[in-house]
Symmetry: D2
Subunit: 459 residues, 4 copies
């Protein structure tokens, strides 16, 4: 399983809490390169606007490689000034030869660098997150398709209620994951933007060229241009955080269901794959992937709250709220990415036990179909008398331990209307699934459309 | 001001914490009528699907008036069963005469009632919230337009940094409010849906008519139909919550800025209107509306977190998470609605003091323009020497208390390149506003487009 | 069940989400009386300090009855000034005849009234909450005592792991509830305080008598006196909120366990009492009380976060953070109180099925004791070989479906060391409970000490 | 400033967001050593209980040095099993020679290791946090003492209200920090505990020696012994989190006040020290330390909420909630530790400008004392007429721009009762400070007692 962690430093808890590719997308290296990408793109934008010669932009561009910079030194220096962009700009300027050095970072403020980097990092992290979310969706879709007619007990308030199929349960997970992925795609497509405003959001030092440079910068980085700088209008961050929080919910929901289905007493699924054995308890098989997904997803709501609470920076640039976003956003991406990777792992290797599902369903001896018997008797008896009759029969079955079908067949008032065969048919769960098939089809069709959009391009 | 509270019971803190029309939209009366609207629309949908006669639907419909039901009795009865829909269905059935009584709530489960009611309530609450959000936006737009060129100090980390105009500050508020409103409109248009799944989400008791009834129900209520029941796929709630959280942020940002500008030592704005006087301190004028907006907006992030954390209901219907949504969603609407009403009030009556803004800006004696002088000297001196020269001059001005212009003009190295007139021009804040005008125009244009969309319809 | 709601207006969701007596303790009526209690006690304190005549204090005191005031009118008037204390003081002054009217509220500011009222309300709410928390603890203690030796499967990660007794499970709930109750008692005893500082926390208008009046006020209200006013030092509120959050956790933990034990497939407990039946599904018995407890407890963490985030009021009195505390603190009390009432109800009527517990435990055919067999073989074989042998036997038992005891007895390497009787004894779960009894005793003893403290007074 | 970061890897944002010594106390190295300390102490406890020979305990102890283990390898291996303790135990066992290897980790489960390590780490982190919290407290105390009589405007809702002294403002910070530190000391002294329960919390494999071993383990680690294992009774974690959240509030409050006092227009304090200059804006001096403290403290409430929401682990050991605690607790310590380090830095080098404080206070021309004039006139005129008179005079002063004293002296109805000298005396802010001195003394005395407890020992 260690492959799932990829390169980079692994901490003691990272194997569990920072699984999958998203953690790298939001790591220091990615942030550093994204900040340098801003500076490089800004130089090109200045050149396109005629403010600096093209060759100076090239000169700056050549100095914008993350591997030439020392993260730890930047981190230490950041403390004196309150952000990591300022020391980076100083270090970059020192590496740029000649007159071009004087043009580094021209017109920009530190927050322009960090905010734009945040958006670049977010874009890449969203792309990686989507792979695991969609991978989990694909696995759920395969389960929904394969187990379209695999009967199981539908459970409400964790009590058996009516028959469903495992395909419907998986289709529910799928719909949740697809809704979350769609929300994230939306953010990816329309919710990001470059940042460029200069010290007070006016781009004053660029004279009247400011808004043009902003437009060029956006083109260079292939990110939308905002109507105006958003140093202290943080809706973008909130919307992104909210969508990640929704994704955590969809993941957590499916993972918790897996854990519940894997309980010793339910035993309808178990996680395959390599992990989950217990060294001291050989009979146990822990659903480690689903448990880890739950643990990762559970961190999301608090982080979203922190990001929403940071949306009040003062005046032109904030005194604390802005800086308060950096870690929670990184942590939110990391933990949702990890949750997605774990859920995908869990669902992709899920071993399903249809026989056990059927056995659990049959344990109630047909009582789950009582509602249906009521419906069959209602036209003749009236709804309320039918209900009372069936309730009494159900109580008798529970009390005596006899099969519900036998109890029903033994009653004269039932026998007068329903033959034993008819009773048997009514108590067959496979015949009382309503729109289950339609709903599964819809979820699968929506997923297929999402994965292979009509136009043929990637979603 | 009491008109802003409208009808309905007012609690001790409601005047401050539940201002405006949204509280009524999410009150018990609104929920009750929305639940009855579900039952009525369901009956009509059943009739359209041919499952019940049309006149039975009419009979049911006539019993669906909230004023005929006793909220307190329903609330008490709800405790025994765990939700308020079940006692309501019982009470409704008792009021429906004849055979129609047997068709009440047919095919549905309690959660279908409550979830659909939640969406109906949310739609109405969003409509009311939008009025106050857009009202706040209109007020911000008016300020941005009127004070397009009203000079003030741009502040970063609460330190004066560069000149801006008050119009730009207001345009920033406007952009934030518009972004939030757009996110809420999105939810309003695409994020709501009816709920109908029956006890286990299969619509089993409707046979193969279930998905058709679902479609008709959606039409009857003019809400989207979901692809499949979403009893335990709660992305809709999370997305709605997230958008409300973003709105709280945009409101809180503007309100806090008002408070900061109204400080005794800044005194660039003050709230007009009736309130805010202090009985014991006659010289004080508290920005009560902005303070109240802040207090209301501050509740949002925690409520959003609670709603996101409730997105994990188990299997077909959850054992706690579903019930955990009811109050936080109501509270979230109420508090964001109240915040929006207060901000609108604050901005609509904001008294702006351009002279004080200018005086505050001038206090630094031109130092805010130091960056500009550097830019003017850089071509001749080189950027770094120019920077050092200006920094030294600024330090001298601060240390000696002499005007920056005089210090500059007294230096031979400056005088060689800049005449006193040129220095004066460089230190004129009105000439160093960069793209301020463009940015204000963009924010105003976007707001105008939002308020009067090209097609001519309401937004 | 409706008795549990007591007097006062009941909303649609209050039966479920605002159960128990705490809601009344934090209702508008309680707040209003508490604010009046402050004014009355302040008058007495002023009299004791010699600042006003005693008869004026009596005159003020006679006007301090909540029933004489109109909550709705105060709520409306509060909007103009930003807090409900100011209009109350005005209304009170109007009701006080003669010269005493001029002494009403002397020296105090609105926040003194509201903060002290908050503490009075909190004290009463804590007292009521303790009753339900301790009632739940008593019920848990009774279960722990009665089922001290009732064998059940211990479950880790929701997989059967080792035998425990239901008494130990209940003792775990008990320990959690007692820890939470102790934390709340601590707050009750040492964490509350009156508030009196005047407009800027200096008690300036009381001259040099201020700190004496503060001391008398504390005595009059039987609350601790703070060293200095805490208008903007909100540790008290945070500590209170944290303790309530911890209580929610202890309640939620026990309630969720009940829900899990009540699952159809586990069926080791079920809730007795009147509720929980399903009208459409007669076989179901929902654990409504535990589900409601979970729903109520789930609201706590977000509310605690809001209160902690409000701990930053500016300078002498805050511009928003203070006002932001009112509703979250009330909601937090109400929801934790409701959760406690529900859990108490759930545990007090819990029906336990020891036979089913034993049957579930036996389903694994002794595999839960594999660790013990390893321990018995280790001295002879070495620990690792013993472990490998037992693991192989366990795998064979799982694979073949044969009883673990039979598989073990059939192996020559085991037979050489253990007789069938010895194997039987090793696989008897009753013999492998370790310190279970000791731990139950400790939890019961701690609870007994808490409920009947040595000194004989109330805890 | 980089010294403040100490040894260890520094990330891009760590200089700002993970300042101070606490980050090291909660880093991977500290966790690893703490887990090994558990194993070593467990071996000694087993030996004291007579379960293993003392020399085997020594042998195990010698293998328990963190530097012999590979964090990254453990982190990777943890993914397969769901926690880092299991691979560590395997690695440790491999390093222990001879028969002692068979005794490693005897009786314990992985959660015993991680939970006890969490407590060891927390103890050390609390000790380090206390140093910076108390350092901040000492700095606040010094300010309170030095500026005991330094007049400044008291501000409510960010409006000047009544005179206070800067000493009182600082005493308020001090009281908040001391309250937070006391709560943390409480947790340190009574809220931690070792964990030892074995797989299901029964210590089954230790026979009847379990509870004795638990007691010895506690002694070996100098931590309290719990009454029973707390694998799923997480009040300890919640109480710890709550106390850290309260500390964040006290820090954030003081830091925000510093930022507000440092505003260009207020300018009553500025941060000394090395940092805070702006490269592009030479006139600016950003309060970097206070801003960073705010940014760090703002993360706390969301993390506390996550930890409180994780307090519901299922049955004997949880399926997700436990694992969900690891990162939030670490992050919470790190961010509160960083906030404390920054605040200490800010306060320790705070430059106070008493002249500016006085100038700001005098700007209102005595209006802040209006309440006092009312009090002086009330005996003669009656309270309400006095209030009306003074309000009218205040309005005239504000409207005309004339000094309040002159306006008063010009009025016949005032002159009849107050001489110009008496008016001057009434409008002298130094004479209207009430209990300011008493309150400062109390805060200083409480702090002194905390720092040098009567018994002479360390607190």
């Amino acid at each position: 399983m260690s492959d799932a962690l990829g390169p980079g430093a692994i901490g003691l808890f990272d194997g569990i809490l920072a699984r999958g590719p998203v953690r790298h997308a939001v790591g220091d290296g990615a942030w550093l390169q994204a900040m340098l990408d801003f500076e490089s793109a800004l130089a090109r934008a200045l050149a396109r606007a005629g403010l600096i010669p093209a060759d100076q932009a090239h000169t700056i561009d050549r100095a914008c490689r993350a591997e030439d910079y020392d993260v730890a030194a930047l981190g230490r220096a950041a403390a004196a000034i309150g952000n990591p962009a300022e020391p980076l700009v100083r270090a970059l300027t020192a590496r740029v030869p000649g007159a071009a050095a004087g043009q580094v970072h021209r017109g920009a403020t530190s927050q322009d660098v960090v905010d734009t980097a945040m958006m670049i990092v977010a874009r890449d992290a969203l792309d990686r997150l989507r792979v695991d979310l969609d991978g989990g969706g694909d696995a759920a879709a395969a389960l929904a398709d394969r187990h379209r007619t695999t009967l199981m007990a539908g459970r409400t308030l964790l009590q058996q209620a009516l028959p469903v199929t495992f395909g419907l349960e998986a289709a529910g997970w799928l719909a949740g994951l697809d809704a979350a992925a769609a929300a994230l795609d939306d953010v990816r497509a329309r919710g990001l933007a470059v940042q460029l405003g200069g010290a007070a959001g006016t781009l004053a030092s660029l004279g009247d060229a400011g808004s043009r440079v902003l437009g060029f910068l956006a083109e260079e980085l292939d990110l939308p241009a905002p109507a105006l700088p958003w140093h202290t209008a943080r809706a973008r961050v909130g919307v992104l955080a909210g969508a990640l929080g929704v994704a955590a919910g969809a993941i957590g929901k499916a993972a918790r269901d897996v854990i519940l289905l894997a309980q010793s007493e339910v035993a309808e699924v178990r996680e395959g794959g390599a992990g989950g054995g217990s060294s001291t308890l050989p009979h146990k098989r822990n659903p480690v992937a689903a448990v880890s997904a739950v643990a990762c997803a559970a961190r999301a709501p608090g982080l979203v709250a922190t990001l929403l609470a940071s949306a009040w920076p003062e005046h032109q640039r904030g005194a604390g709220p802005w800086q308060a976003e950096w870690r929670p956003l990184r942590d939110l991406f990391e933990t949702v990415g990890s949750a997605a990777a774990w859920l995908r792992e869990s669902l992709a290797h899920l071993e399903v036990d249809p026989a056990r599902m059927r056995a659990n369903l049959d344990r109630s001896g047909g009582l789950l179909l009582a509602e249906r018997v009521t419906g069959a008797l209602a036209p003749a008896l009236g709804r309320l008398p039918a209900h009372d009759l069936v309730t009494a029969a159900a109580a008798e079955a529970v009390g005596s331990g006899r099969p519900f079908a036998d109890v029903l067949a033994a009653r004269a008032d039932v026998r007068a209307r329903l033959s034993p065969d008819e009773i048997g048919r009514l108590l067959d769960p496979a015949g009382y699934l309503g729109s289950t098939g339609v709903f599964i089809d819809r979820a699968l069709a929506a997923h297929a459309a999402r994965r292979s959009p009509p136009g043929g391009g990637a979603p």
